[in-house]
Amino acid sequence: MRAPILFLLLISLANGGFAQDVKKEIEKYQQMVADSSPVELFELQGEILWAKRQGPNNASLEQCDLGLGAGVLKGAYAQLPRWFKDADRVMDLEARLLHCMGTLQGRSREEASKRVFGNEDQPSEMEYLSAFVASQSRGAAMAPGQAHAKERAAYALGQKLFFFRAGPWDFSCASCHGEEGKRIRMQELPVLSSPAAARPVVATWPAYRVSNSQFKTMQWRINDCFRQMRMPEPAYTSDLTIAIATYLTVNGKGEPYRGPGTKR
């Protein structure tokens, strides 16, 4: 239940200086939460799933090529999304994992993507795997592919999608993420078209969310923005979602990865 919130102090001391203190205290909260996050548990479970044999081929994902060669995990996430020759497609982490579940484990796309967004009672396989694979890029600078023509096309499409207003509420991504210093309720909104704001974002997703004890992937993050924009739902790992992820990640490139993060 969402109760209205009262900051009694805020009312009695409504001045700019106090608002600054509130912001500082919320930042302190976020820092403390990040420092004592159970996010590693998801990485651990993902590692178990990565090595687990399953599907018609009774195979693990250990030979999955995430872009740096079969089975190379170190730093692979930091270079996604990227174009893959075998699929002739730009893929993000989740698209690539789905691809490997098909090619290595022999699983159908339908079965493997049946339940990709979990909940607090039952996280999804994709969430665990995302946590583990992303954790293997800690310290690596984010460097999504932009050499191949399809990678550049994905960026250009993502940029257009970011600014395209549509749907019953006339929203684009930029409606909320377009202006410096704005927030929804108490939530600060990063201006994702600006590298300075995009960098810390791409460096910390996917992430554990303390408010609902759930681990969330980038595909989920984009999906949920469409829900809030009152639009229909993006198909999982569709070119549209990967274009937006590419736009966002390229804007934030260069930042050392320090996720999976912990969010409020």
């Binding site: 909260y29 009672d121 309720r185 408010s211």
Partner: protein, 148 residues
Amino acid sequence: MNLLRRNTIQFAAALAATLLVPLRAFAAWNKEAFQAKTAADALKGLGVGASAESRDIVIEAPQIAENGAVVPVEITSNVPNTKSIAVVIDKNPFPLTAKFDFGEGALPYVKVNVKMGESSFVRVFAEAGGRFHTASKEIKVTIGGCGG
């Protein structure tokens, strides 16, 4: 894969673990104190009598928690010979949240994430040499944005 819910395999594994590991001498959970619905009753259950305010107990916690589901609280007792630390959240349905007994080899320090139903004082009681020392900190609980 289900990490958070028990199933029979895990139960069997847990059972096996209990057989393999030497019997743990768990300090019996203080039911009376933990099931108390007021801070006063909880303290009575713990046997905490008069307590003195002390600056030697340091509570590191945010003044504002964006979400009550996870509120990190870090407690250090600098009171010499601290034997135990108890954490009481006044406004929670069951105020007593944790009690730690420290033996030789452990510093009287703990960091834990707690749930808070609403804004409240968080009080810490440290026992040293048969006396109780206390410190408190008010934490305001709010919620964040529209679900983003």
